[in-house]
Assembly symmetry: C2
Homo-oligomer: 295 residues x 2
Amino acid sequence: MTRIRLDLAYDGTEFSGWAKQPELRTVQGELEAALATIFRTEGDAPVVTVAGRTDVGVHATGQVAHLDLTDTQIADLDRPPRGGSAPRGLGTLVRRLNGIAGAAGDIHVQSATLASEGFDARFSATWRRYEYRIADASALHDPRRRAYEMWHPTVLDDAAMSEAATSLLGLHDFAAFCRPREGATTIRTLQEFAWARDVDGVLVARVQADAFCRSMVRALVGSCLAAGDGRLGVARVAEVRDEQTRGSDFAVAPAKGLTLVGVGYPPAADLVARAAQTRARRAAPASFDPDDGLD
Amino acid sequence: MTRIRLDLAYDGTEFSGWAKQPELRTVQGELEAALATIFRTEGDAPVVTVAGRTDVGVHATGQVAHLDLTDTQIADLDRPPRGGSAPRGLGTLVRRLNGIAGAAGDIHVQSATLASEGFDARFSATWRRYEYRIADASALHDPRRRAYEMWHPTVLDDAAMSEAATSLLGLHDFAAFCRPREGATTIRTLQEFAWARDVDGVLVARVQADAFCRSMVRALVGSCLAAGDGRLGVARVAEVRDEQTRGSDFAVAPAKGLTLVGVGYPPAADLVARAAQTRARRAAPASFDPDDGLD
């Protein structure tokens, strides 16, 4: 088997999230159906493993996934097409995935490359990075971005939002920001969380952690939104985190403003060790899930 | 009558352009229908005059328009709503236009302000500015932008495109880049035309002129695209312009990559003079149309 790394992007609007589900249009479902067509397999088409299982309506520009191909499948890609001189090998895979899974335009595979020894899109990752966009009353509202940002009817206090974000940084139990899951730890390291206005005045959050629990990014954003709107004192934000229970101080921000923009991996030499370490943490009594899913 | 300036943005995808047309969904049509509802008038609702009549599928983030309201209509906006304390005056106009014309999300009125004496959105303007986006094979293809950029299957030579663009700058007869119109001059001043890659590697053109003839921006972009693709020598681009006839050296670029990003006006003291000057040029034998329409 040969492991292939896929770098891909999608507009989450018309998807029921990443993870394959019967009867629903999902990113994984579309990619695996395309692979089944490409390799003319039924039932046992290659499975696509992803770094961040995005929720319904969440977008991605820097998603990373992997799949394993047999020697026969690799040879299939290398076979020159009838009468054509189209790119072969992994170029063929990109072109065909984009022709089938990308036909509607809302999935685009940027590249397919041979994965380094020990690479696992999910278990080798050292960080996931998201962006959240809010156009408040002082920002330009660009209708071209209406499916990719939250529009907020008042002017938000960006200084309060930045202060709230900073107060959440570091290694903490983020239970107050997660949908709980039996036996799973909610301890994470929030490596970056900062708000800045872009050229159009749109508030953009950069949020990076080793991994995120379920609904965590949108809950972090929701807490800052409550602080920026004056509904929640800035000092309360870190207090809420320390109380470690999900209360009603703030709401989870809508999915459409959220985009997974990147995933980080260690140098090739450390990939195997990193995956083993992640798997061990996952098997521990208070299980750490590197991709608890559904941001 | 009181003249109101509107600053607005729209996603052109679902519009048959700016200009009102029977049976078709257009930006002007939607705005004037909303005004008829707001002021409960039929047939003689305020007319909206625009700086740049964009073509089918062209977008705008910095569009400017004006309309004239009677004292009764102004008073109507100032009347407090039943039982409410919503913003009055021009704030009401923005809110109601966005509630009606902007209900589908693809039109957004940024502001409505009292126009300076002599202001005319179309005749006072001194420049129009567009942006054109091309994601070539070396750029990130972001599915969230698929309706707002052209995706090109090969890597384009951006140096050749920049050189071609620079060779077109200045005061020229742009007949080779315009759909001809009887009795109208195609002489324009191309004030800025430059290509640069953004952070995602997407080629973005900034194109500014005193005014544009019909299909001119997309023809300018088409000529650079042919140069960047190696189909047209860079030196040929200025030659084609000097031949002053529309040939088959290049195609007009698709509408969806084009966005009107801004319109410039002189200082308030010069508005009346500017409009008079534009009207005189328009009445001259070789008529200058400040908005020949349909980019």
